[in-house]
Each structure stands twice: as structure tokens, then as C-alpha cells.
């Protein structure tokens, strides 16, 4: 995968081609042409993030960040290692709460509700904003029980079989496991386990799906199937994907946010540098830092 993203986007834009042999060029279309390119208004904002900053103890991990994440879009979060992408993502469903020293300032509104208000229930937050982790983490239970566990907790006891089946179908895993639902989930391959984790997350019908480098631990074939899944799931969920793989962002995301490590108060902290429709960010970035990253000059 040595083609520049620029080439992948079809060669448009003013970035010089990087002298890569044609056969390495990827021709990929985004799932649908940018809404903005078509002149449609953006869907309503699911997350309204205003001046959100994250500290772990005295160290600042994320500088003040402001952006909106829109409904039924796939938003990619890219950037070099350590730029706070995971921290940003995990702040969206309160998964950073258990990390000692975690402190969030600013405001994160989810559909108008303050995620970090004292009265907000973490459990309810996670019910609506689901997460899939970098390394597949199926429970040491059967495939069926993995998917059915959370719905059972939530009290969704009727139609459980249908619910499990539906989730596994949506995760493009049903055909492969339908005859061995009672087997241990740990016997699945890495790619299958990750799709199981996705099925598990969507079985409770969340509103948002947060994916933290979902394919980084997988081989290319499995990665491709995950990416296909992400594009398809967008119709039902709002998706935010963290990825260190720029080409992946180009393939799956409608909008992309680029974070970098910038000096803040004398220390380096993750900072949102640019946030734009994916095509624009990769072919015609506004910020020189984005341009540098995207063309491979650093990171």
C-alpha cells in the first residue's frame, strides 16, 4: 500500500505525484460522493464538542478541541502516534473515566445533552454510544452469548434469537457462524472476532458507534471486510473511526479530522488541526501541517 492518498483519490489536486508505479495505484470511490459536493446540507450534529480539553493529572493530552460530528456519517480521526486520537474517541463515551487522573474541561453535547453533567448516567451513555476496540476482545463465552449478553442485561429478552441473528447479519458474520453459535467465541479468527465485537456492539441498537483502530490488529483481507462493514453501517449509525492508516480513512470516511502534536503551554498536546470532508482534506488541505502529514512528509 505504497500509493499516495492523492493518487487514490484519482489524482486530482495540486500535490505532486510521488513517483509510484501505476500498478500500485488504488482506485477507490468513497461510498457516496461528498454531500457537500452535492450541495446537500449537513445532517444534524450528534456531537457538539466545544473547547474540550483532556488532562491526565498534570499532563495535557488533548488541547481545546471544537468540532461537530454529524448523524449518519462516518468521521475518521487520523494523526501521528500519540496525538490523542484514542483519548478523543474515548472521551465521547466516558470510557476515560476509569483512568486515574482523567480530567475533562469544556463541553461535550450529545444530541443536546451534556455528556459530563453530574446527573448523566455513564451506563446510559454507553448504551447509546457503543465502542469497538483495537484488539478484538470477545468474552470467553459462546458466540451466541457474546452477542446476547448485553441485550439480556438491558431486559431485551423476547426475540433474542432474532436480535442475535440480525446483529450477526449486519456484521457480515452470520453465514460463517450460523451453524456454530454455541461454540466458544475464542475459536474464531481475528477478523471474525472483530466482526463479532461489532455485532455485539450493534445488538443493543446504539445510536453511535465509536471504532478505535478496528482493523489495525487484522490482516488485509479481514481489514477490507471491516471497512466494507463500516461503510454499510453508516445508514443506521453515526460512526467515528480512529485510524492511523490514511488510506483507510480515505476509503471509509465522509469527513476526516486530523490531529497533530502541537506545543501547548510549553508541552506537546494533541490538537485538532483540520476537519473537513475527506476528499477535501486529502486533496486540498487548508493547513500546511495537514498537507505535510497527508503527503507522507512526516508521521
Amino acid at each position: 500500500m505504497t500509493a499516495s492518498v492523492n493518487d487514490a483519490m484519482g489524482g486530482a489536486g495540486d500535490l505532486p505525484a510521488l513517483g509510484v508505479a501505476p500498478r500500485h495505484r488504488l482506485r477507490l470511490e468513497p461510498a457516496e460522493p461528498d454531500r457537500e459536493a452535492r450541495g446537500e446540507p449537513l445532517p444534524p450534529a450528534v456531537f457538539e464538542i466545544r473547547d474540550m480539553a483532556v488532562h491526565y493529572g498534570s499532563a495535557q493530552a488533548l488541547a481545546e478541541t471544537t468540532l461537530d460530528i454529524h448523524a449518519n456519517t462516518v468521521t475518521a480521526v487520523i494523526g501521528p502516534s500519540g496525538c490523542g486520537k484514542s483519548t478523543f474517541l474515548r472521551s465521547l463515551n466516558r470510557m476515560n473515566d476509569s483512568i486515574p487522573g482523567f480530567r475533562l474541561s469544556g463541553q461535550v453535547l450529545y444530541r443536546g445533552h451534556d455528556l459530563y453533567a453530574p446527573a448523566t448516567s455513564r451506563v446510559e451513555v454507553r448504551r447509546r454510544i457503543g465502542m469497538v476496540f483495537q484488539k478484538p476482545n470477545p468474552f470467553p463465552k459462546s458466540i451466541y452469548d457474546n452477542v446476547a449478553w448485553a441485550p439480556r442485561n438491558l431486559g431485551m429478552r423476547t426475540g433474542l434469537d432474532d436480535r442475535v441473528r440480525h446483529a450477526l447479519e449486519q456484521a457480515a458474520l452470520w453465514d460463517e457462524v450460523k451453524d456454530r453459535l454455541r461454540e466458544s467465541a475464542l475459536r474464531l479468527s481475528g477478523g471474525q472476532q472483530q466482526r463479532l465485537c461489532i455485532a455485539r456492539a450493534i445488538a443493543i441498537e446504539p445510536d453511535v458507534l465509536l471504532l478505535d483502530e478496528p482493523a489495525s490488529a487484522l490482516d488485509p483481507l479481514a481489514t477490507a471486510s471491516i471497512e466494507q462493514l463500516i461503510r454499510a453501517l453508516r445508514h443506521r449509525f453515526t460512526i467515528v473511526v480512529v485510524t492511523h492508516n490514511m488510506q483507510q480513512a480515505a476509503r471509509v470516511a465522509d469527513r476526516t479530522a486530523f490531529f497533530g502534536l502541537e506545543a501547548v503551554d510549553g508541552r506537546r498536546a494533541g490538537t485538532l488541526i483540520e476537519y473537513a470532508p475527506t476528499r477535501t482534506l486529502f486533496t486540498n488541505p487548508a493547513d500546511p501541517r495537514t498537507r505535510d502529514y497527508v503527503s507522507g512528509r512526516f508521521g
Partner: protein, 298 residues
């Protein structure tokens, strides 16, 4: 050369265990040939009459251990969960060692406390209400005055077993990978649901081994039980009556044994040894399915 020294030390340990078994069998032989297996069926222990039966001791050991485990297993697990999952790190750093210190108290002092504090408490505050509420069950008979009973012995043993179960289970719970509990939490589960659905199932066999080890402790305790169990006669239904058990009986009678009592005591010892060795093996077998030896750092 070092190897030789180490090997010698190791072999001597092996020889030690073999010797212990051999010595107990040898000492018990006269009693075994005299009473045979019927020994476990008779409950009367009358050294002056030359009549010895192990039934009462076996019953007492069984009952006290059952009471001890019924209390210590859930309480110990709850403490282990608290320390591993719930407690903030400051609290954990203090409470954890305190719970372990409970295990370090010498048995004679625990027994002392049992006689001085626990027995009166049981007699005045527990036996009455328990008899009133559950008197229909023969186990909870009429209250006694001294509080020295099978019941009190069970409670005392529970106090000694709780820290063992708590420390072992805490170490086990800490081994559950963060990613599993994160994954469960990310699915909108409450803390208890995460514990029940992920933490407990993942450690189940290790917990069983830990409880079995606690049982082993309860079965073998002599001094503390001797002090609070009251040295009663025979087997009774009510837990509130005094009784006796294997380890305490051995300790008690061995101080000044009467004539042919010694082989009978060895016989009791042999029975206790067989039980304890089986417990060790069972715990290892269970633990093999989940590496509990990592947690056996007591």
C-alpha cells in the same frame, strides 16, 4: 556443587512428606487393627474405658468447616472483589494489607478472643434471635449460656479463612484483562453486571481452588477451635451445643494421653491427614485449569 546441595534439600523435603505419612500410619496401626473402619462410626471418646470413636470428631470437623465456608466464601469473595475492582487506590493500599494482617494473628490469640468476646456475643445476641427465627430447624436449638459451641467454632474459623479467600480471590480478579472489563462496560453494563458476566466467570475455577484452600485451613485448625468449641460429649443436632473436632481433639488429648489412647489419636491424625492431602490435591487439580499458583503467594 550447588546443584548437589539443592537436590539434597529437595530430596529431603520429599523424604519428609513420606516420613510424615509413614509415621502416622505406623503410630495408628495398633488402633486400625483394633477398631478398623468402624472407628469412624462410634462417637464416644472415653480414654479411661479404652473406648475410642472418631464419629463425633468427624461430625464436628464437618459442621464447623461447613459453617466457616458458608460465611467465609461469600464474604471473602466480596472483599476480593472490593479490593480488586471497586476500591479507590488509596483505600485499597490500606484495606488490603489490613485484611492480610487478619491472617497473621496467631491462632491462640484468635481463640482467646473467641472465648472472651465472640462466645459471649453469640450466647447473648445471636443464639436467641436465631433460635427464635429458625428454631424449627433442629440446627438452631435452644440458646446456651457459655456460647462455647460448634457454632462459635464455625464463626471463629470463618474469621481465619476470610483473609485467605479474600487475598487469593483479589489476586485472581486482578488478572482479568482490562480489555474484557472495558468491553463489557462499553456495552452499557452496570458495574455489577460486568462483575457477574465477565469477572466472575473468567476466574471461576481459580475461585473454586481458593475456596478449597480455605477449607483446608478450616479443617486443620486445632488451637482456636479447641478453645471455643466447648469439648462436649456426643453428636447433637443443635449447633449451639458444645462439641469437638478432629484437630482439636488430637491436640487436647495429646497433652496427657492415657495409655492406649495414643494409637487412637494417631488414627484420628491419619484421617485428618488423608482429608488434608486430598484437599491439597483437589485444589491443585482445580487450579491447573486456571493458574492459581501465581496467586498462592501467602
Amino acid at each position: 556443587m550447588l546443584y548437589a546441595a539443592c537436590a539434597l534439600a529437595g530430596l529431603s523435603a520429599l523424604a519428609l512428606v513420606a516420613e510424615i505419612v509413614r509415621e502416622l500410619v505406623r503410630g495408628a496401626a495398633p488402633a486400625i487393627s483394633r477398631y478398623g473402619l468402624a472407628f469412624v462410626l462410634h462417637s464416644r471418646w472415653a480414654p479411661n474405658f479404652g473406648r475410642f470413636g472418631g464419629a463425633q470428631a468427624l461430625y464436628g470437623t464437618g459442621m464447623t468447616s461447613a459453617i466457616a465456608l458458608a460465611l467465609a466464601a461469600p464474604i471473602g469473595l466480596a472483599i476480593g472483589l472490593y479490593l480488586a475492582v471497586l476500591a479507590p487506590s488509596g483505600v485499597r493500599a490500606v484495606v488490603g494489607p489490613l485484611v492480610e494482617l487478619l491472617a497473621a494473628i496467631p491462632s491462640v490469640i484468635v481463640g482467646f478472643w473467641g472465648v472472651d468476646v465472640l462466645a459471649p456475643f453469640v450466647a447473648h445476641h445471636l443464639e436467641g434471635p436465631l433460635h427464635a427465627a429458625l428454631g424449627g430447624i433442629p440446627l438452631f436449638g435452644a440458646p446456651q449460656t457459655t456460647g462455647l459451641s460448634v457454632f462459635t467454632a464455625g464463626l471463629t474459623l470463618a474469621l481465619m479463612v476470610v483473609p485467605i479467600v479474600a487475598a487469593l480471590s483479589r489476586d485472581l480478579f486482578a488478572t482479568v484483562p482490562r480489555e474484557l472489563t472495558d468491553g463489557a462496560a462499553a456495552l452499557g453494563a452496570t458495574r455489577w453486571e460486568v462483575i457477574r458476566g465477565v469477572v466472575l466467570p473468567a476466574t471461576a475455577s481459580g475461585l473454586a481452588a481458593a475456596i478449597v484452600l480455605g477449607l483446608g485451613r478450616a479443617l486443620g485448625e486445632a488451637i482456636a477451635v479447641l478453645q471455643v468449641i466447648g469439648d462436649g460429649e456426643g453428636i447433637h443436632a443443635s449447633l449451639f451445643l458444645p462439641g469437638n473436632a478432629l484437630a482439636p481433639r488430637i491436640a487436647q488429648e495429646f497433652i496427657s494421653p492415657v495409655g492406649n489412647e495414643i494409637p487412637a489419636l494417631f488414627y484420628l491424625g491419619l484421617i485428618l491427614l488423608a482429608i488434608e492431602l486430598s484437599i491439597s490435591l483437589i485444589a491443585r487439580w482445580i487450579g491447573r485449569r486456571f493458574d492459581v499458583t501465581r496467586a498462592l503467594s501467602t
